[in-house]
């Protein structure tokens, strides 16, 4: 430092010169994983959705709603619907006008598959980064990321357009930030975790439960972390602020969405109260015998090694010198993913949720993060950093074996379930088993063919706008497949209720009624169509037979004016 006094101070203005730039680390590895996974998922989605017409019901319904924002007879953002949280549909809204160039994006729901592909690819890239944060050795790191990316459930839900992919991606991102926060107390990591959980909630309700889990972890960690805040009042403030940072954004998202729903459709929680929500669907479904054996069996298919792995990771944490932080790290994935699992179990067992296999998909990222914690190296651990030493090779080899055993077992059991379990893996079985060539499988592939036929018939009629009455809760596939979506009057359009009550008085020319399946406002109001007690204005135009066991029968009715 002694040269400071003698150093000549600047003689004058320096000539303008390019500023030296800090070399920025290029995230090539992360990008490679993202793009690689994306390519695989986009292809998988194309096979499932474009070739085999296998998009899932909810996914197609969201694409149809997102498309209606532009193309309905009453275009407005509110058409995205309020049964689900809005993010998936909102993300698709800017792209639905591309249906003009490529109809299959909307008519077959491929846009949803592209969204789930992007989300799953992001989850894969996050997994790679998370394992890097934990300093997992290269070989087990590559294997864990790869086997996660290719596990059947992840692959299927990356390609079928469902929001499970978004939930997994956001929860993994939140877990990565929360782990970083537990490690070094960086406030911004906590903020990021909170934002990911908020986005998670806007994609799937379950993220709210994960937020509760995260809040518990944050409370305990901050309360036990001494830091520089010595006064008890300050430490109490710190706990409140930290919990606020992680839980505040999801809570704000929750309130905001409830308020928006309330303003637009008059009820804050459509998922629970509306005719299309979960409760109504449950009431309309056959009450199968609820048994704890069902979720337990499903969990063992998805994550057969979960319990022994958890025991191992806990044992390792207890054996670590600063036991508290080590246990806190384990608590992060257990709280985030475990809370969602626990929620699905409790709601299923109490008869408030279907027992779908996909509801337990968070077991897979849970296993992946636990594996990462099992194979993590401490940041001051320099013993075997020399790559190529016998010890390093041995440790990497053992780690790789553990990864292959744990994730490989899950891949085998979940793949088997998808082709052999028509009841407890019903949604997966009816789409995967036919593809795998299982001979007796009842296929749900091609289930949208009848809806497309309805759309074709209506399109051929050359009708004015808003003249085809259909409940988009049951007829979303028809509207999505139509070349003239503006001709339909759908549930979100102003005037739907009035037209439903009295079609001839409101310019309706054709009424579409589904004869089975879920809720249909038209069927509920006009069950009498075609019966002697029915209205005189209706003239039958025939029916369209269901393409598969999973498709509804459609009947078409012409409105012939008041007698």
């Amino acid at each position: 430092m002694t040269d400071v006094a003698t150093r000549p101070l600047l003689p004058g203005a320096l000539p303008p010169a390019p500023r030296p730039r800090r070399p920025r680390r290029r995230p090539t590895a992360v990008l490679t994983w993202f793009l690689g996974a994306l390519a695989v998922y986009v292809a998988a989605g194309a096979v499932l959705v474009l070739v085999h017409d296998g998009v899932m019901e909810d996914a197609l319904a969201r694409v149809s709603a997102a498309s209606s924002v532009w193309s309905s007879s009453d275009p407005k953002l509110a058409a995205i619907g309020y049964v689900w949280t809005p993010l998936p549909a909102l993300l698709m809204v800017p792209f639905t006008p591309l249906r003009v160039l490529w109809p299959a994006l909307v008519s077959q729901g491929y846009l949803a598959a592209l969204l789930s592909a992007v989300a799953s690819a992001a989850a894969v890239a996050t997994t790679w980064g998370l394992l890097g944060d934990l300093r997992v050795r290269p070989l087990p790191r590559v294997l864990t990321t790869l086997l996660f990316a290719l596990s059947p459930m992840v692959l299927l839900y990356a390609g079928n357009g469902m929001t499970e992919a978004l939930l997994v991606a956001f929860l993994l991102a939140a877990a990565r930030r929360l782990l970083a926060w537990v490690r070094d107390g960086e406030t911004t990591a906590l903020v990021a975790a909170g934002l990911f959980l908020a986005l998670g909630y806007l994609a799937r309700y379950e993220a709210l439960v994960a937020t509760l889990g995260a809040a518990v972890v944050v409370t305990v960690v901050t309360a036990r972390r001494t830091g520089t805040l010595r006064r008890p009042a300050r430490r109490r403030d710190a706990v409140l602020v930290d919990v606020g940072l992680v839980a505040g954004p999801p809570a704000a998202a929750f309130v905001l969405w409830a308020v928006v729903s309330w303003l637009v459709v008059g009820s804050p929680f459509e998922q629970f109260t509306s005719a299309y929500g979960n409760a109504a669907l449950l009431a309309g479904a056959d009450a199968a015998a609820v048994s704890i054996a069902v979720p337990a069996r499903q969990l063992t298919w998805l994550a057969p090694a979960l319990v022994p792995l958890l025991v191992l990771v806990l044992a390792r944490a207890l054996w670590r010198a600063p036991r508290g932080p080590a246990l806190a790290l384990v608590a992060v994935p257990v709280a985030l993913f475990g809370a969602v699992l626990a929620f699905e179990w409790v709601t299923y067992l109490s008869g408030n949720l279907f027992g779908f296999l996909r509801y337990q998909i968070t077991a897979i990222p849970l296993v992946v993060v636990l594996l990462g914690l099992l194979l993590a190296r401490d940041h001051d651990d320099r013993r075997d950093d020399e790559p190529g030493t016998a010890a390093a090779v041995l440790r990497a080899g053992v780690g790789a074996l553990v990864v292959v055993a744990v994730l490989g077992a899950g891949i085998a059991t979940s793949a088997r379930a998808m082709v052999t379990e028509p009841v407890d893996a019903t949604q997966e079985y009816h789409r995967v088993a036919p593809l795998a060539g299982a001979p007796t499988a009842e296929s749900a592939l091609g289930m949208w063919a009848s809806d497309r036929e309805v759309a074709e018939r209506v399109d051929a009629m050359d009708l004015p706008a808003a003249s085809v009455l259909v409940d988009s809760g049951s007829g979303f596939a028809v509207v999505a497949a139509s070349r003239h979506p503006e001709r339909f009057l759908i549930t979100s359009d102003d005037g739907f209720a009035a037209a439903l009550a009295d079609p001839p008085a409101h310019g309706i020319r054709v009424v579409l009624r589904s004869e089975g399946g879920g809720v249909d406002a038209v069927r509920a109001r006009w069950a009498s169509l075609g019966t002697p007690a029915g209205p005189a204005w209706a003239r039958p135009l025939g029916a369209v037979a269901p393409a598969t066991r999973f498709s509804p029968t459609w009947t078409l009715w012409e409105v012939s004016g008041r007698p």
Binding site: T2, V4, A5, R7, L10, A13, R21, L77, T188, A233
Partner: protein, 437 residues
């Protein structure tokens, strides 16, 4: 003409422009925070390193302390400057007092027991227009001999090792760095809600936004005090602009245009925050007016400006220096329109918010507002002041005050561009505390 022919289109275009500007500034600030966290350019010098430099190797240091009509804080200046750990024979502290400000002069002479005591001396500034802080500083600069120059306000409590840290940091960073900006914070943060807001804002400013600007290579609007500058650079850029009411921000821009760099110094000067809302609005209106002045001065030759600080620099200048007061000015209009829409739903409001304007506007209103609140809360926590988080949570009320100040600044920019809104200090009622780094 267009306004007469297509009033709705013109109104929608204007509204759309501001919505776009709002989107851009929100994204820009989030990017600044991200960069500040990802690669914080703040230079930290440990106590040991700061003290390790032998006295003989330290450069001569000039501390300028301009004061005007504040006799009540002069005693504190003397205490604060005496606390600086710097050899007296290499330090000159200049109390820059207006020659006709007899009250303050008398107070200073009483505190010093004459015209000077140790390194602290009174420098009388001849009366005359413009009667501004930068003019006083220029006179101080002319009479000083320090190789490094810094400014403190009369009520500042600089961290005692700050000068030594600056010396070490300059030596480490090399000659291109001409200026180090120390962090400013408030020592009376407990006093009332206004000061809690102000403290959270300042901490966000100096811990995230300014370091973010540095990391992105944009020109830095310097803070009013605790900027440490190499004399050569200061002379080369022509000292301070005596007509500018935020000469600090202007100086930062001129340093950038001349190819110098500014770095953040990890040392904190505790200032006294305005505890009175009227006083606060006056001070803030002067800042906003000065920002607009500085922006107007520098965009007079846009091509030269772009050549000197680059497109990214100009972008930073527009989104940070110009957009801050402008958006504060138009915010009340948007709040009013929102309230009007909720209450009465007049078609005229719908006409100026076509969907292409409405939805981005709605998004930036919700996301931007929430992001600003979260940033404040997070910064309070990161700065080790979790007790200020509650104030950050209700900071939208603070934005109302900002808008008042911005509107006042807009009017004054036209009516009295160089009028200096004097901030009254000495309102601090909290007991003296130990100054911390």
């Amino acid at each position: 003409m267009c306004l007469v022919l297509w009033p709705a289109t013109v109104a929608a275009t204007v509204v759309g422009f501001f919505v776009l500007l709002h989107c851009a500034t929100t994204l820009h600030r989030l990017e600044l925070i991200r960069r500040a966290v990802a690669d914080d350019p703040t230079v930290t010098v440990s106590d040991e390193d700061a003290r390790a430099v032998p006295d003989a190797a330290l450069p001569h240091y000039t501390v300028l302390v301009p004061a005007y009509r504040e006799p009540e804080v002069i005693a504190r200046v003397v205490a604060g400057m005496t606390a600086l750990e710097y050899p007296a024979d290499r330090l000159e502290v200049m109390l820059l007092l207006e020659a006709d400000d007899t009250e303050t002069l008398a107070a200073a002479r009483a505190a010093l027991g004459g015209e000077r005591r140790g390194p602290i001396a009174i420098v009388e500034v001849p009366p005359g227009e413009p009667r501004t802080k930068p003019k006083a500083c220029n006179i101080g600069l002319l009479r000083s001999r320090g190789q490094l120059v810094t400014i403190f306000d009369a009520e500042d409590r600089p961290e005692p090792l700050q000068l030594r840290r600056a010396v070490v940091a300059f030596a480490r960073l090399g000659p291109r760095v001409a200026c180090l900006q120390a962090r400013l914070s408030y020592h009376n943060a407990e006093q009332n809600l206004l000061i809690r807001w102000f403290t959270v804002e300042y901490d966000t400013w100096f811990r995230w936004l300014l370091p973010g600007l540095m990391a992105t290579g944009a020109p830095i609007p310097l803070g009013g005090t605790s900027n440490h500058i190499r004399r050569g650079a200061l002379v080369a850029v022509g000292g301070w602009d005596p007509w500018n009411v935020t000469e600090d921000a202007d100086l930062g821009l001129r340093l950038a245009r001349c190819g110098y760099e500014v770095a953040m110094l990890g040392s904190t000067t505790e200032e006294e925050a305005n505890s009175d809302a009227i006083n606060w609005v006056k001070q803030r209106s002067r800042w906003y007016k000065g920002y607009l002045q500085s922006f107007a001065v520098h965009v007079r030759h846009p091509v030269a400006l772009t050549r000197e600080i680059g497109v990214r620099g100009v972008l930073g200048l527009v989104l940070f220096v110009a957009a801050t007061p402008v958006l504060a000015m138009v915010n009340p209009l948007f709040w009013g329109l929102t309230a009007l829409w909720i209450l009465a739903r007049p078609p005229a409001v719908a006409a100026v918010f076509p969907p292409l304007v409405y939805y981005p506007g709605l998004a930036v209103w919700m996301v931007g507002g929430l992001a600003a609140i979260v940033a404040g809360v997070a910064n309070a926590r990161a700065a080790g002041k979790p007790h200020l988080a509650a104030a950050a949570l209700v900071s939208p009320l603070y934005w109302v005050l900002m808008s008042l100040a911005a509107l006042k600044a807009g009017v004054q920019l036209v009516a009295a561009p160089s009028y200096w809104e004097k901030t009254t200090h000495g309102l601090d009622t909290t007991p003296e505390k130990e100054v911390v780094a």
